[in-house]
Symmetry: C3
């Protein structure tokens, strides 16, 4: 149910009360959704998947976002391309399956055929004067680094990737994403606005009431201080927790592990963040039932467990949570004003063998159950927001990161 927009979006933005949730229209109107997509989502770099999904030449998968379908296809060992899945002849989708392998990109309608670099082969029977060089596939900006595939949907020059994300490189390298493979991938369609999915993911005020399993894996004082990353909890709790964090950081550094932070503010393009935290001072090396690593092969340059987790935020709809043994990619993809696709992808070391070194259900356990709880939560949140009596409410001190996100969001669509 998307609602009729009764007021001007800019008026609503100007009336926003800092520290409160947004007005109803931001969560359900088609007009706001269109603005979100045009001014914000399509103008940022989005993490879409890991290169190990398409190891061979011609391997491809589709990334569906809004009404767009993007073909991510491997042209060669060195090169992966991204194209809008729209034939330049009469507009048909070219790739119809969610993933597969294509020697050439041949449209199933009239067989207009494109090379894996998007160039059009000479089509049959075109009139005189037809210039095939004008009809290559529309490229989508793509950046592949350390095994991670990012795209940007913009028609214009995208943000400078390196300027935005080069600080992450040391951590990408240490976690060995380039030498990872996909262990598990799961999809969770959410019937709610994308911002409710984000707001839920970046605060841990709801962890105690809603996530019993997650609260087993992580200790209470940490969840309070920075359960949804640095800046997500109250200052007092953070000050109290700081000594534990400092001690852990010292230990981790002593093992030769990098420990540093990235914390872009609400005026940045991507609201990027990076932080390393201990999973649990009760000797949890991993986000598993018993705290034991979910994979026998540690990732990247980890030789021993430091029981830490690196939280990386590339933008509010693209994340990686990386432990010593496993890394989880998080993808929130808007589909319309009140539908958002959630996809979780767990990575392990490329040499880890399923059934031997890791068990897929064990790898996925805590986040699979947690994200299903979040799905229910955010859908009930969206239902309540449709009421005439909904009005923006005040954030708690444990929702500081949500307040930051909302300011960043409004900056982005203003």
């Amino acid at each position: 149910m998307s609602a009729i927009l009764k007021e001007n979006i800019d008026t609503l933005i100007s009336q926003y009360q800092d520290g409160y949730s947004l007005e109803q229209a931001f969560y359900c109107s088609d007009e706001v959704y269109q603005r979100d997509m045009n001014r914000l989502i399509s103008q940022r770099w989005l993490l879409v998947d890991h290169v190990s999904r398409i190891p061979n030449k011609g391997d491809y998968f589709l990334f569906d976002i809004g009404e767009e379908s993007i073909i991510i296809i491997r042209q060669s060992d060195e090169k992966i391309n991204a194209f809008f899945n729209v034939c330049r002849h009469r507009g048909s989708r070219i790739c119809l399956e969610h993933e597969g392998n294509k020697g050439l990109l041949s449209c199933p309608y009239h067989a207009w055929t494109y090379e894996l670099d998007g160039q059009l082969r000479p089509p049959r029977l075109m009139p005189d004067g037809f210039d095939k060089t004008q009809f290559g596939l529309h490229a989508c900006h793509i950046k592949v680094t350390h095994g991670l595939i990012f795209v940007c949907l913009s028609k214009d020059t995208p943000p400078d990737f390196d300027a935005e994300f080069s600080e992450f490189n040391e951590m990408f390298d240490f976690h060995g994403f380039a030498d990872a493979k996909i262990a598990v991938k799961r999809d969770y369609p959410n019937q709610c606005n994308w911002k409710l999915v984000v707001e839920n993911f970046i605060e841990c005020y709801h962890c105690a009431p809603a996530h019993a399993e997650y609260c087993v894996v992580h200790p209470e004082d940490q969840l309070l201080a920075l359960g949804a990353g640095p800046g997500s909890g109250p200052k007092e709790a953070m000050e109290k927790y700081q000594p534990i964090l400092d001690e852990w950081e010292e230990k981790s550094r002593a093992m030769g592990h990098p420990v540093y932070e990235i914390d872009h503010d609400e005026h940045s393009l991507h609201l990027a963040q990076l932080a390393r935290l201990p999973i649990n001072d009760r000797n949890f090396a991993a986000e598993t039932r018993d705290g034991k690593p979910a994979s026998n092969k540690l990732m990247g340059k980890f030789k021993q467990c430091d029981h830490g987790e690196t939280a990386m935020v590339f933008n509010p709809i693209s994340y990686i949570l990386a432990s010593n043994d496993v890394a989880m990619m998080v993808r929130f993809t808007p589909r319309d004003a009140v539908n958002t696709d959630v996809q979780l992808t767990w990575l392990v070391h490329k040499d880890a063998e399923e059934g031997v070194d890791y068990d897929a259900d064990n790898v996925a356990w805590v986040w699979d159950v947690t994200i299903k709880q979040d799905k229910k939560i955010t859908e009930d949140n969206n239902a309540g927001i449709l009421s005439s009596r909904y009005q923006p409410g005040p954030y708690s001190t444990q929702e500081a990161r949500v307040a930051t996100f909302v300011r960043w969001y409004l900056n982005g669509i203003r």
Copy 2:
């Protein structure tokens, strides 16, 4: 399928031809629906259920109307409250099940917790200056009388309940609604505009073609004269039927039963009505296959059957039809421009035992079959109205009450 509104609503209202059905837009446009809800439905007292549904402290049920969800919850033996099902923190639904029992109203998202009177308990971790007294649940106007629960969704002062409905008290009392219990409750979602459900319910012009079972229970001359209540049939038929009615009234009064009428006109707020009528002069004491009472325990102060039925209209979407043995609450609830929930609830004496004193299917029989026929009728009516060739048609003399309703409706949204 809701249609695009091509003309101004006020223009359409001013062009209305008395004695004819409404223009297409009134039955399918989102804009008209929004006006109906804002100016009319949310500004009137609506009958929602019977107190026996929530006998114990903390018992609650949800009343869903439009995009609103209302929590009706028992605070104590004496007090029942109604709240909008929207957390004051970030807007989540608080009660997720259709009915149940709650010691406190605790939001499943962040555990903001409200007393059963709607007051917010101190939430965790709110910033300095947070005043919890400003964040109680939004109350919904509620009036409980004689076991009947009425609500009004208005943000402002609701209509004066007693001024509108005190005339009903004698009949509420005699029928013993305060000492009743729910025997059966059934839901019938209708894919049509709420006004088509109303218009169908308040005329008996369609009874002969469409309701074979109903026509067994009620005699033809009565159905013609006032089959859908006083003022629903042609004057001539009413004059002809009057002697039978007079005779029955005399007999009923002789038994000590109250017999009186309420008949508010199209300028009233609620278009309220009350009338007592014989079910069937062929000795039908009840609306059952054989005319025998559906419950062995008569309701209220009835000591013997007078074979009468009291029709009470609180507004065009809230009714009770009460016989000596059984009373049926009728609830028509708009959900969107072309969807309306119909709920029937049958009451019996609180001491009547199912399987001993009454059989649920027998209690529900004639109206269950009739309302299913009406569902089909109104949905086919809505489908036809979407045609470009639909135009308002003239009402028969047996649809006099529909004409009155339409005038009342237009007064209400003007």
Copy 3:
């Protein structure tokens, strides 16, 4: 998913680049769809079915188009009527089943009853001054000729049927449509705009990539030259194929068969066409797996097979493809901006017996498989067009007929 119209329709029309596909809005906006229906579809004669569907008095079927439901009913041996399926009383649908037999057209709601000529019988209980002659059913323009039923939904005078279509009479007569019967009827709902269904049907550029079965039945050089009818292929291919066509025409004429063309241009009302072509010079007498006739009884005046097929276009959503043995009626019916019903109806000689003279699956074979392939194609085409990167693309020389259709379409809605 229908998109929001961002620009004025007339501006979009004026910006159209000849020889290219249409802008996105033409394929998905509700506003364009409404204009298509009002200015074009409802102002043309549409082929809806064959008289053999309703052989007896009172037999009827419904033709559903957009939000309209049209009753096509036989009044007598000589007369078939068409009415909008809307009761003049309160607008209910009158006929609820897709087909059946009615002695009278009696509304199931209040039993207003119409003669089979649409006249209202005196309804019960209407107020003084009610003039029943003012409340007959709204007639829909209808023309029955040679067993074929055409309707026009216009509120005004329809186009002159004879002026538009009298040239077809000789062929109607020779093919014996008046003495045909329905052998098979199949429905294929398409989730795409009606123009994509049309554009797909009138070009054979996609035949080779998409229709393996169809390419067995028809030879490659013919498919290229005029696989979707005269004017559908490149001029060079047509010049090359002309001798084969000339030879076949001579042979057919020698058998006494009529061979002539109709070719109305983009300024005509209906873009009507007629042409006779050989099915396949490899001795295919019919569109069957083995080329043998699908029915033992040839239709009309054919005494022997000339292996020809007559393609008749009454307008871009109404066709007949008639072979010596079988004729297929093609009906594309818009339902909303992105839904189109496709119905194929195969006719055989009225004396042909199923199981003896013909097998229904054999009759339907090649077009059943082809139209299912087309359904997939057109739905994938519509999905791609919703992308922000879709832009009109250039037609090949084998899509000349599509370019003509687009010009005719824009003329029609301008």
